[in-house]
């Protein structure tokens, strides 16, 4: 290619302008899909402020007299306060547990050479591809023998274990990028393995820890089978099992159903607003291989 041709194309197709030349049909398609994505959730939100009588009389989600009665119902009578509290305990506990054990393991696997390193890596990585639900019966008997049936601790342990492969995978990718000189310098200064890990390496991977935590939070918050099988009493229910109970008990009170759905969604929405940066970073980091 000669400079001449390049010069010509530059004149006829200025780079900057291309971003704004969008065909009207494309514009419609983009907004159309945006509406498909967002409108059902908007309807859920709007309907949660209407009374049951209004919902039956008029299916359109608009009201002149919004009410928060549905939320009061769901939060107090239908024990959503308890469910949300349990879900927070289980989710935070499991994320903290799996991140805490995965950090030293990811560090050792990605930076030290030792016999069996490859095998352990293969084992942890294969853990990414197995559905934990298939182990439900042995897990049930294990929890039974540990007297942990109907206890939030059982869920923390299971979700914690299930988070180990993913956490090690992501954290290793970050540890690997750190320069070797850091450890060498620390070792010359007389720092032992533990101090080097805790005081030199750990502070450098905090952004990765945030990414891992955010990405584990969503599936654990939403998980449904384990609490369905392992929890017995209502005061221990997490939000997902609580929601199914609520749906069978409040079947006729549609307005409260919508409020329940919104309550189950809000914590994830808050997380998303707080951590959009981590989510985007995490997705792009995964692509870097």
């Amino acid at each position: 290619m000669t400079n001449l041709t390049l010069g010509r194309t530059d004149r006829y197709r200025p780079r900057k302008k291309r971003h704004f030349k969008v065909h009207p049909l494309i514009w419609i398609a983009m907004w159309g899909y945006a509406a498909i994505s967002a409108v059902p959730l908007l309807i859920m939100f709007l309907n949660s402020f209407r009374s049951s009588a209004e919902l039956i009389a008029n299916p359109w989600p608009f009201t002149t007299s919004p009410t928060i009665e549905n939320y009061v119902n769901a939060w107090t009578q239908a024990s959503f306060a308890t469910y949300v509290g349990n879900s927070v305990i289980v989710t935070v506990g499991a994320v903290v547990l799996s991140t805490a054990v995965s950090l030293p393991a990811a560090y050792a696997l990605s930076r030290w050479q030792f016999v069996g390193n490859r095998l352990l890596q293969a084992l942890f990585i294969s853990g990414l591809m197995v559905p934990m639900m298939l182990a439900i019966l042995p897990i049930f008997y294990l929890m039974d023998s540990l007297n942990l049936i109907d206890s939030p601790l059982s869920l923390i342990l299971i979700y914690g274990a299930n988070g180990v492969p993913f956490s090690i995978f992501v954290l290793s990718a970050f540890f690997r990028q750190l320069p070797v000189e850091l450890e060498e310098a620390a070792s010359i200064d007389g720092s032992g393995y533990f101090r080097t890990f805790l005081q030199v390496m750990l502070p450098l991977v905090w952004p990765a820890v945030a990414t891992v935590a955010v990405f584990r939070f969503v599936p654990i918050w939403n998980e449904f089978l384990m609490p369905l099988v392992l929890l017995r009493s209502r005061e221990n229910y997490t939000i997902s099992v609580g929601l199914t109970t609520f749906f069978s008990e409040y079947e006729t009170d549609r307005a409260s159903l919508f409020a329940g759905l919104v309550i189950a969604t809000i914590p994830l929405l808050i997380l998303f607003i707080l951590a959009t940066k981590q989510i985007v970073q995490g997705l792009t980091a995964g692509l870097g291989k």
């Binding site: 194309t9 291309r18 983009m30 994505s37 299916p59 030293p104 050479q113 490859r118 591809m129 019966l137």
Partner: protein, 310 residues
């Protein structure tokens, strides 16, 4: 996939230090995931009376899954539903998702807004998604049919989730709706990382938009399309929560939305059989081989394809 650095620190670390660093993660993983999984596999070769293990019976449990009713009927049906689920999701995600991601490259200021809007359904629990769509699609008071009637499409106001022929396609569409943000974000990130020069060079050579996509951008996206498809395979094979919310544990109407994980749940907890433990473990083992084997095989194929391209 390898975690260790290539050159990196070849430091000889004492074994006891290595063990101290790795043992907590390994113990947690082994006790609460790996060991129970292996146990499920071993359970499948024994006869069971409730929770008491009887004699070793070889592959009898497996044979029963394929010869005894209702399993011999329900397993192929559920597997077929899972495969349709995968096919539908993969086609729609890779066409609509790729289209949206490619078009988003043209937007600058609006890109973040569109990405956020497309991603919001992913944040909502599959349980909430299932219940919400059941309410919206309800024939009596659902908004979808009301909207269809208002615009004069009364004939299309169908009982979407009540009709056995419609229920599975609708379930697939709901799932695609929920997950669309994921391919859009991933493809967007991959497209953003491609060198602009290649596309420009092709444009100078006179390639139009479609040709540029077909011969330049498309092939360079093969790895990420493969990754998305493999993840879709795994999630389609283990779909449980959404199906449970829409059709309950029996996959109503009339088993039209029954999938393998629902069947596994029923065999494990609702069959009432005295040897349910052996049968459900056999089913779990088959699903494990199928999902894990399929994912590993696809990863291998993808790696080979990538080597060919580079």
């Amino acid at each position: 996939m390898r975690l260790a650095s290539k050159g990196g620190s070849a430091r000889r670390v004492p074994l006891r230090v290595v063990v101290l660093f790795i043992l907590p993660a390994f113990a947690l993983f082994a006790v609460f995931l790996l060991f129970p999984l292996l146990q499920a596999v071993s359970y499948s070769f024994f006869d069971w009376k409730g929770t008491r293990q009887q004699g070793f019976i070889g592959i009898d449990n497996y044979i029963r899954l394929f010869t005894d009713l209702p399993f011999s009927e329900q397993i192929p049906r559920a597997l077929g539903h899972n495969l349709l689920f995968f096919a539908g999701t993969v086609v729609l995600q890779n066409s609509i998702g790729l289209f949206l991601a490619v078009q988003l490259q043209r937007f600058k200021r609006m890109r973040r807004l569109f990405q956020t809007l497309y991603t919001t359904p992913y944040l909502v629990s599959p349980l909430v998604v299932g219940y919400l769509w059941s309410l919206l699609l309800s024939p009596q008071f659902g908004l979808v049919n009301e909207a269809l009637r208002v615009v004069g499409l009364d004939a299309l106001a169908l009982p979407w989730l009540g009709d056995p022929t419609l229920a599975l396609p609708v379930l697939i569409l709901i799932s695609v709706w929920q997950w669309m943000g994921f391919p859009v974000l991933l493809y967007g990130a991959a497209l953003g990382g491609l060198p602009v020069e290649l596309n420009d060079a092709a444009a100078i050579d006179g390639a139009n938009g479609w040709k540029r996509f077909r011969y330049v951008t498309g092939p360079m996206l093969t790895p990420v399309i493969g990754t998305v498809s493999i993840l879709t395979f795994i999630s389609s094979m283990e779909v449980f929560t959404l199906a449970y919310a829409v059709g309950g544990s029996t996959g109503s109407p009339a088993g039209a939305t029954d999938v393998l994980s629902l069947l596994f749940y029923r065999v494990s907890f609702q069959s009432g059989l005295i040897d349910a433990l052996g049968l459900s473990s056999a089913l779990a083992t088959l699903m494990l081989i199928f999902i894990f084997g399929g994912a590993v095989l696809a990863t291998r194929l993808l790696a080979r394809q990538e080597r060919k391209l580079s």
